[in-house]
Amino acid sequence: MKIGEGTFDEAQRPLATPRQLSWRMAAGLRRALLTLLVLAQSCVASFYMTAILPYHGGNMLEIAIITLFFVLFVWISVGFWIGMFGFVLRCFGGDRLSPLGRHTAAELQTQPLSRTAVVMPIYHEPIQRTFGGIRAMYRSLQKTGHIDHFDFFILSDSRNPDVWLAEQAAWHRLCQELGAGGHLFYRRRSLNQHYKSGNIADFLRRWGSGYEYMIVLDADSLMGGSTLVTMVQLMQAEPRTGILQTSPTLINARSMFARVQQFANHVYGPLFTTGLASLQLGEAVYWGHNAIIRTRAFMEHGGLKRLPGPGLFHGSILSHDFVEAAFMGRGGYEVWLEPDLFHSYEESPPTLVDDLQRDKRWAKGNLQHLWLMLFEPGLRPAHRMAFLNGIMSYLASPLWLVFLVLTTIEAARLVLYPINYFPEPHSLFPLWPQWNPEWAIILASSTLFLLFLPKFLAVIDVIRCRRGKQHGGIIRLLFSVVLEIVVSTLLAPIRMLAHTRFVLEALFNTTLRWAGQNRTDETRWSAAILNQAPGTLIAGAWAAFAFWLDQMFFFWSLPVAGPLVFAAPTSVFLSRVGPGERLKRWGFLQVPEERHGSPLLDDVYARTYPQLETYTERSSPAIQAILDPVLNQVHQAMAHAHRGGKKQEMILALRKRCFQHGPHTLTQKELCHLVRDRASLQWLHEQAWQAAPDSYWGKALHHHFQH
């Protein structure tokens, strides 16, 4: 069937091959081994926990503590074993079942390329970085000699007319600069239904049928041309693959917070993604960007319906990517994560505040998946587990908090209440409460072991692969790892409390506001204090109570209470660019791209190209859209023609007001109506150029051309 005919034949779906049976068998074995290891480890740990508790699980409180402990230990054990799987596989040269492991470079080179759309959905993004990223990717693709197979689409959902006018101007400049007319397109939706997934779906409905594949990017994504080509070749070689996800590495970190995240991503990332990919195999998840998708299959299976449930489980699906991967799996297509596709990048949120704001959206989105996990028919068990994994990423925090509350009650009961020698109602034998601090220390140490061993294995992996120099040498690498551990330890309780709040907000479908948003690049003291005040107060009260109760319990509470008490200064310090830059100069928290440079990254961040952002140069984008004869024609070409009626009357009134007093006298909505109207753009342009020198537009022209 020809692409573009709209309907898809079930018989076209590729049949299961021996290769597919082989990875399915391997996946079954690996997952069974993981389950066995995790459960065995968690049972032993829970047994220790039972032994540590004074009544050995003899009352409801202790049963609740042990149950929670088991769930949480399972959670951290999964993370530990994923790291272990990754380490072992990397020691043996990587996973032979991975997409790149199955094909040699020579085999891939023989694959013919197919038409591919590179799509970047944007919403009020910084223009210079976003369009600069597209420029770098376009130029990188040009160097491969395969640019003719690729078209770039900027899919804007921006609402503010000054933003989207600037986007349109930047698109035009970029087309001119690259000579990319006919290969670089811009489309803005006037109705932003269903957020990013709706944006992509809109693209697919209009143009999806014309492309075999689409590569989805985020506004901060960056991918090398050769990587894009290899992705298409892999898809060509693997007709059953519906989505191929790369593992993006973080770049361009400047603040302390972002630099720590970036370092962790570069050093620990390969271990965990290799482990994760080896367990998921052809049932991996899609992360929403830096991935290639088979458009026909996606259009057939990736449509997202609104959730039909109550409260949180009603309406648009917020975190669409996991769901789309699950639907592709249900449709019979494979979803692969390939950790060895390099030159795939994204950026980290610069501050803890930004990071938590993102987590807030993700928490709600992931919790929504509970409905799909339980009630959506036909999904693969692996994808239901992926939903559970996403849910637990956020639900683990309130569980930790409840665990801490219960252990505090247990400690208080032991100190304040008389000892109950007969916790069992009809028992003839007394039960003496026992406290084994050495067991508690063993258990706490084993928990720390699970959390930190994979990090040290990642360091061994770096040294083994002779990547130490890329991180500033062994000494600096080790110091950086210690610094990262300190920072992540300080952040863990802050995240726990914030995630608990996000989970509660999502479950009750409400927003608990207790502080203003931080809108500067670096976190201000006032915003940090206000943001972290509840956590600081709760932690301070808890630590004080623990101290009053029992000194030993106070010391146990410190790893959690301490970081919360000092959350505000931690947040402020980590948001600062100065210390981050200083450490970079000294070679700490260094990543390979910083040490050796990268033509792709230099193209975005280092080289000087013509400015694409026009907002601050001379006049606002709306004024430029009216005055600049070329830009006016660009915007006219993208505007609509209105046929008359009430809307036309309204537009005529706006036109007059804009001509007499300028665009700043119009509301955002009014300006939007006006500059979307082709006739108004032309009329205003003509009138402005004929305007008297002392009129609004006469002065605007003078100002515009004086600069």
């Binding site: 143009w207 990736g302 003509e686 004929q690």
Partner: protein, 82 residues
């Protein structure tokens, strides 16, 4: 010192031409002066309006070669069935 309407007219024609990518050579400037002169000599009260409505006819201004915003639509549909 305040500029006269003639100066404003000349300046505006030059600004427009350069914004359209026309190089302001001696010949172009002379042509611009003749347009302004015609504007001043005309019955019309406002020479600015006169020169700006005739600037396209007076000069051989090429319209910019605009890139295609989007390829032709090849309509398809998203399926929502399980």
């Amino acid at each position: 010192m305040a500029r006269s309407l003639a100066e404003h007219s000349l300046s505006r024609v030059c600004d427009y031409l350069s914004a359209m990518g026309v190089e302001l050579t001696r010949d172009v400037m002379l042509q611009a002066l003749t347009l302004v002169e015609a504007g001043l000599a005309s019955e019309q009260k406002d020479p600015l309006q006169f020169v700006m409505t005739r600037v396209h006819d007076h000069f051989a201004i090429q319209n910019p070669d605009l890139p295609t915003t989007a390829p032709p639509i090849t309509r398809g549909s998203m399926s929502f069935k399980p």
